[in-house]
Subunit: 420 residues, 4 copies
Amino acid sequence: MDKSTQYKIFNDPIHGFITVPKGVILDLIDHPYVQRLRRIKQMGLGYLVFPAAEHSRFSHALGAMELAQRTLNNLREKDTTISPAEYEGTLIAVLLHDIGHGPFSHTLEFSLIEDFHHEMMTLAIMRQLNQKMNGALDTAIKIFTDQYPKKPFLNQLISSQLDIDRLDYLKRDSVFTSVYEGSVGIERILKTMRVYKGNIVIEKKGIYSIENYILARRLMYMQVYLHKTVLSADKLLHKIFHRVRVLIEDGYNLYQASPALQFFMENNPSAKRGVSTEVMQKYLQLDDNDVYQSIKYWQHTDDLILSDLCRRFQSRSLFRTTFLDGQPTKELQEKVSIKTQKVLKERGLPHDETTAQYYYSFDESYSEAYRYENEGIWILEEKDKAVEFSKAADTQNIIALTQPVVKPYVVHLKTIDVKE
Amino acid sequence: MDKSTQYKIFNDPIHGFITVPKGVILDLIDHPYVQRLRRIKQMGLGYLVFPAAEHSRFSHALGAMELAQRTLNNLREKDTTISPAEYEGTLIAVLLHDIGHGPFSHTLEFSLIEDFHHEMMTLAIMRQLNQKMNGALDTAIKIFTDQYPKKPFLNQLISSQLDIDRLDYLKRDSVFTSVYEGSVGIERILKTMRVYKGNIVIEKKGIYSIENYILARRLMYMQVYLHKTVLSADKLLHKIFHRVRVLIEDGYNLYQASPALQFFMENNPSAKRGVSTEVMQKYLQLDDNDVYQSIKYWQHTDDLILSDLCRRFQSRSLFRTTFLDGQPTKELQEKVSIKTQKVLKERGLPHDETTAQYYYSFDESYSEAYRYENEGIWILEEKDKAVEFSKAADTQNIIALTQPVVKPYVVHLKTIDVKE
Amino acid sequence: MDKSTQYKIFNDPIHGFITVPKGVILDLIDHPYVQRLRRIKQMGLGYLVFPAAEHSRFSHALGAMELAQRTLNNLREKDTTISPAEYEGTLIAVLLHDIGHGPFSHTLEFSLIEDFHHEMMTLAIMRQLNQKMNGALDTAIKIFTDQYPKKPFLNQLISSQLDIDRLDYLKRDSVFTSVYEGSVGIERILKTMRVYKGNIVIEKKGIYSIENYILARRLMYMQVYLHKTVLSADKLLHKIFHRVRVLIEDGYNLYQASPALQFFMENNPSAKRGVSTEVMQKYLQLDDNDVYQSIKYWQHTDDLILSDLCRRFQSRSLFRTTFLDGQPTKELQEKVSIKTQKVLKERGLPHDETTAQYYYSFDESYSEAYRYENEGIWILEEKDKAVEFSKAADTQNIIALTQPVVKPYVVHLKTIDVKE
Amino acid sequence: MDKSTQYKIFNDPIHGFITVPKGVILDLIDHPYVQRLRRIKQMGLGYLVFPAAEHSRFSHALGAMELAQRTLNNLREKDTTISPAEYEGTLIAVLLHDIGHGPFSHTLEFSLIEDFHHEMMTLAIMRQLNQKMNGALDTAIKIFTDQYPKKPFLNQLISSQLDIDRLDYLKRDSVFTSVYEGSVGIERILKTMRVYKGNIVIEKKGIYSIENYILARRLMYMQVYLHKTVLSADKLLHKIFHRVRVLIEDGYNLYQASPALQFFMENNPSAKRGVSTEVMQKYLQLDDNDVYQSIKYWQHTDDLILSDLCRRFQSRSLFRTTFLDGQPTKELQEKVSIKTQKVLKERGLPHDETTAQYYYSFDESYSEAYRYENEGIWILEEKDKAVEFSKAADTQNIIALTQPVVKPYVVHLKTIDVKE
């Protein structure tokens, strides 16, 4: 039987063909835990601004796995020894790296589970899968947790400043948002990657590709991930779930389109001391649809605030985001509160100070294109000399551009002018 | 105020920029009826085969509207008079042309409403919107129903062998499925389109673009829309809903994640004498999520057949499709039934003849790349002579390739070999 | 030393990266005979219609070699044994397959050498290179001439209805001319190619890619290679060289920008009994520049006809092409001749019947998208059954579209209307 | 007659369609002075490193003219008044902006004419064309020379830190070199460009596109225009022409494939006091072919140095470039000279100190991605406040990355190691 029968091939607009090895990997892909990622959008509410950014975490996971294959094949070409078990383990770890994400990730995860870290959930799920599959994920788990001996580069492919996750999602998101300036030259980066003393390094000739990669990442944060309207949509969703929790605590009987979501709203579990099997099982039943179905029906609930917020969500009547020149003053916060109360009153909605807080929010956006301390990208300058990227020739100043960018902002009703 | 402030611009991977005129059109886009299209995938279950084909009817509707603008601008360049009201009316008609579609369109619509035609629903919805918006859709409705006087070309842009709907979805679907061979040269087609005696024609130099368009459409049917696995996934979904209906008729009490879906399952409305307002309102609450949520929970129902079918759906354990050389014989049908019963028995599932029918299906796929009788594409061969495409020079034989293609097939359990 | 150091990598807009094995292949690429292809445009005068189609035979040769590598790697994946010598031999044969082409290939070759076949010249050059390189091309030559035993598929990759040459130039030309409808899904074709009983076949699932490939080829002929203006530019070039030959035979002393071209013009060699070493050496000094330099200076020669033709060439004042409904009648030919003479007289140019022939030409264009007799493309329908493409299911009618297309035409002065 | 008949449409892989207005602009395009740009490569010897970068100055000029149209149409949409004469004048100025370039521009221009500036030549040619065309270029010349009153933005489109020339060539060169990281989001830049107080500004939302544009430009310099091998090829060409001049001064009788080139080699004209008509006429006969033809035949000349250098050029046996850590010391220069002499001796070539200088060269590369003093790009931060880009929010640090980069290097024989 020839090798080509050992693969299943999928089409992908980003990578052309995705080659899935039959066996453990194809079994995992068809597992309901992974199929669930089809029902979680990669970019959360980003599609409200970029209408075609409707792609799921599933297609990203598949794409990342394909990139992992290309990377490992390239490294083998450069005489790095990678055993079949290591190869498969890395693919599995990449495929499952985001499996612990819930619907609307960062926006909602903390509303569901206190002290949540998606890596913790990912690991718990991987371990359960490993048990069911008789240890087939042993190596993958070791690589994922950086316990795999002697070959730190395998973990670096999963999680580092230049990991495969980022390469796939930057490229994928830039295509689907049509922000081509955020596009990354993956092929060239892979071609110049190699292993040096057990670690991933980039050959000197790839230095400008790395510069471009970091700046593309910066641009995607500025233009896409932290886009004003995305920030405001996230806040709206957040406020909806805050309201739901309050109502439930007050003993209010909400229609529940989703038993799984109901579980989290009512029980308010914490992950401080790990994730129980029950919580994990419920969590694995959640996807974007639970949220959408609930909001669709909460439009018609008789709590005026919740129904108003949900109707806004359904008709894209979002709040406005205004960036601030510095941390908000007390005066500003009061002004926004009072103005909001006034508008709510005009509209016949509850309008006390507490209610008003469902209609505005002060926060700050944060992005960091590249973190060079402790975990930077290394350039192989000469045969036997690797230096951290920001110290390599020609680019000393790039650090300036990759400083964390923190922008305070306020999300508020569109009819309010926070600056006057 | 300059013209650029009269538009809102969206990014689109297919067309680059989508320019949405503020006013009626932007209001319609933000209307919950149109926003609902965000939750209905353009290609239904196609993403099970083409993982990135996750795009919604919403982004298609937006893309088509953009193409309509480009088309109308081009026609104006060629001295065709199009009034602002006609311009807006055409855009609205294109934007809303698919609004009557429900989740999984052709696969499920008939399970929801008897004698359903999505055009009928589209029109009913357009009329309700028109009422609410004080006649703002008057012209759009006339164009959509081909009642607009003297300018038949406007309706032809909405619905013909070369309408804007097709141009957008062929291009969009070919990109997201990464079947680039199905890609259409939209730009060139638009450049060579003009109005002749009130009808859309293509200038002679565009003849090969039309040939390419028709053959691309043929290819998309063969490779994508009627892909074996897509056919089998459709059948599985169909069987699930058939089972649900049977259970409900038997008085079975199913968990209902969706009140809207419950309405259709229990009431079984018919569209023979039109669509009632109640039916329309319920219908407008439906989207893909109702189906996905329901199936997710029906996995755990205690009807063995329904839960088995739903589990198959969730883990992509689909049936197999085998194309047949001709119409299936009685013998074949019996053979498949008996083999299916045997497998079901082995698996401890109900396995009588009726039950077996949930696990196989005989049907035929149908496609027609180009219909030239009555409604063909016309080529402007000379200054004053238009001929139907298939009669234009060089391409007499193309008709051969555009004959309807009918392929009988059977969908069945993977462990069964229908040919032995 | 790792494998990656055994390659030199070039960038290519068509294939991304081109990987050139160091050793014989890189030596060949840097050989002046191959570098000469940089100075011969792949599409001859096509850039006069498609301004960016300025790419050379060199970049095509490099691209084809890259495709050959991908093809051979794919075949090896499918368990076809290909020795290192066969691998290298195939690459060399693909790289050099067009080395026998001269400037403006088909347009000019016959003006240079009587009874010319570029394959004959290619072989002669390969043999000389082989001699200089101590037999390094032995296998390549055997493959090129189909003398390589037991593995006919290697030759089929060089020369067949689906050879690598075609795959590269169709794709490349379609990109540079921006006629995307002529684009070919190379990746998919390669993925479905395999060896069956020693011959190249396409797996059944690739059948629509083949249909698309054949129709893309047809479209490129119709839209690009046989474009009206390309035909007319070719004729102008041809007429210029005809005039030069006549002048030289009359003993006229032309300024010669190119000693190599002068040799061919004065000696009029024939290839009937093969190519002498002298002729080959002179031929290898020729490239597009010899022609352009000569025409640039012949603008200022005192032969009125030659200088007029050359000035037309330099300012793109081309003739017009009119397609005819059938073979031209004697009357038509006379009419064109008389009208031409009249125009020349008005312009103060020589205007007898013979002179007029420099200003018009009757000819016919010919294209054949697919030749199925004797040398068709084979589809592997079942595990042990290959059928010729036109006989494979679903596509019986494709033959109609792939019939040779013959179109009589006349090239003439723009001020003349041949139809009135 | 409708508007579409007033244009001629060309295909372009970069911009899709290029629309050429008939009349003056089409006449100019068909003029031999502009057609000559077809025979001058945009990237000079860049194709020796990037094999597909074979595009000409002609296709760039056409592409830039298309961009000028799109820009002006966009500005008109934003209520900037642009008269038909200004529109045409700008298009002409953009089309002709590079007409004064000779073969291999910066590499060779100074070898041809002392004190040469291509802008001076461009202007001289525009003036002559204007005279021949009865003042049709009056407005274009005023715009080009920044003499056009009240609308400085027209000249800024021709020549500034964000001119149309740069937008087209960066995009075009990045595609043909396949260095996609250097790609520029032209569409987005044009969409956010507007006129403010007579000057071009970028709307605030376009600020990241500008950042991306500047960094893409930086990358193209680093990766492409100042690529090591490009630098070394340029030096080789330079050395060849230096040798030719020396030989001619010594009275050596070289075969001359090009009378025009011969004129420059023998007369050594200077542009200090302007360009004479004779020099301009000769110059307009020059293109890349004169250089290639000459080098091809000089391979066989009996001057050992010239023939060796020319043979290197033909077989791409280039020198090597080594970047230096600082300005070269005297010791280094001597060491390189002595090592070179030694190698030349071994090869039986003349090997005195003067001869050796044909085989090495010390120089420095220079690039400046963005010059903000006096002529920066302005961002419209608020309705009535424009600030220079480097001072606009979020990007204060970008200046660091756009400092001029100066890199000393030495070009030398490959067998020499300059660092040991």
